[in-house]
């Protein structure tokens, strides 16, 4: 997918900064809000990952670097606000978010066209889940039974990636139309 940003968005430095700040703020809010709800399924680290939509968006409009930066900042600031900064879960989510952002960036760069936003989003979600599992394995519970969760993680990644991907596609279309009109 060719980055939309360069040609259509005004090249104003200020506008980019404002957009990034807004996206980051939204990402943090979604990240924190999501942490408040009880997990949908009793699997550690299983989340819908709505804030990943923001990562995807940032990459599309502001470039890959900005997206990766947003993923890191969102995890750190989000855990800070939620008060879980030094809990083991924060490290897991940071690692998951970072690897997921890298995978999304790579997929956008190398695998689009054949892949759409949904496919990219699914890959990102699975990368997020599997990374958490691997990090948890090496850092905390060294029991092989942890990989018992692998099929769960794949299905959950598929479902959450599908949902966030679809939302991203919808929003992206809407936004593109608005921008074109403007």
């Amino acid at each position: 997918m060719t980055p939309y940003t360069r040609s259509t968005l005004p090249e104003a430095w200020l506008l980019k900064r404002i957009l990034f700040a807004a996206l980051l703020a939204l990402g943090i809010v979604l990240y924190v809000l999501e942490g408040f709800f009880p997990p949908l399924v009793p699997v550690p680290g299983a989340k819908l990952g709505l804030s990943n939509i923001l990562v995807l968006f940032t990459m599309l409009f502001l470039g890959y670097g900005a997206g990766i930066f947003l993923a890191i900042a969102r995890s750190i600031l989000g855990s800070f606000i939620a008060g879980t900064l030094f809990a083991p879960g924060a490290l897991l989510s940071l690692a998951g978010g970072l690897v997921s952002a890298l995978v999304v960036a790579l997929a956008l760069k190398k695998l689009c066209p054949p892949l759409g936003l949904v496919g990219v989003s699914i890959l990102g979600a699975i990368a997020h889940n599997v990374t958490q599992l691997v990090v948890a394995y090496f850092l905390f519970v060294q029991i092989s039974g942890l990989f018992y969760y692998l099929p769960f993680m794949l299905v959950l990644g598929l479902i959450s990636g599908l949902i966030t991907g679809l939302i991203a596609v919808y929003l992206f279309e809407r936004l593109r139309r608005e921008l074109e009109l403007a």
Binding site: P151, V155, L158, I159, L162
Partner: protein
Amino acid sequence: MRRTLSVLKIFIFIVLALSLVFLYLQGRVAVVQEEHYLLGTYFRIKAQSRSHDQAQRAVHEALAEAKRLSEEFSRIGAGSLGALNRYGASESVRLSDDVFTVLEAAERYRELSGGAFDHTIGKIVDLWGFTQDWDRAGVGRIPSADELQPLVEEPRQISLDTTAKTARLSSPNIEVDLGGIAKGYIVDRVVEILKKHELDSALVDAGGNIRVFNDRPRKVLWFEDRRPFRIGVQHPRDESKILGVLEIWGDHALATSGDYQRCFFADALKNIFPCRYADEPDKIRYHHIIDPKTGQPARGLISTTILAPTAMEADALSTAVFVLGEQKGLALIESLPNVEGILVTDNGRIVVSSGLKDINFPTELP
């Protein structure tokens, strides 16, 4: 049209994903395993059921019952058996239902085995040092003939009153020790509870005293997974080996009595050495299965494994057969329905009863 098709595709994928989850849930069999320390040994329950909750509940209830019973059967504790041992020689003691049932059964097995199984020789066993806390602090000793003789010669009668559920001992030299049979009884009660909860199958292992049942084979869709329980029989001279494996279908119990379970060695100077499986050169093994007629450890067999319908029967018979020896022991096994045995003699022969002729056990100790 194309759009609806695409939506349909997504729908099909979701259904596919859900059916994978369903398939997993279908084939899942919950296995609950719990272990506790009871009666001076480990007590393990492994239960299999389609519902994890159900298995968990059953195992918890069974363990609670086992715990309660193990206190009842402490021969020195606060239960009615402890009371019988303290006051039974001077007055009739009211026993709890469980203790009375087991005491009655013990009397039956004493008669059946012609006195080879004897639950009244607690004092003699104590003289050898095989006390209740043998595992923690037990030190063996060889009692003198003077010490043993009066206890062995003493007629040890217990009069039971079935209606009042009381018992009375004929002499203060009697100490009732139901350890050789209570373990089996507890295993049977535990199995009863597990069966009441309609579990698919379960294994109860009280320190090598085992009962299994296999009521329903597990099913994955239309595949039936029929599998017997595989129970190894301990090699009496090598801890890390088993003599062979018995494949058990349905509901059966196994118990083994061996001279390696609680023992000590003594050399010519009567120095005592700790128990082990392997024989020690120039040392004599003294073990806890005492022949009531002599007051000495029973000789001739080194291990007896009994297969019986209930764990209590297997428990009592393994001791009885051990004391009776090869000939009389085999005769006793053959005289009882649904009871089989594997005997190892002190010269290393492995003898099996008629019902086990086609199992692939070696005939000599490997």
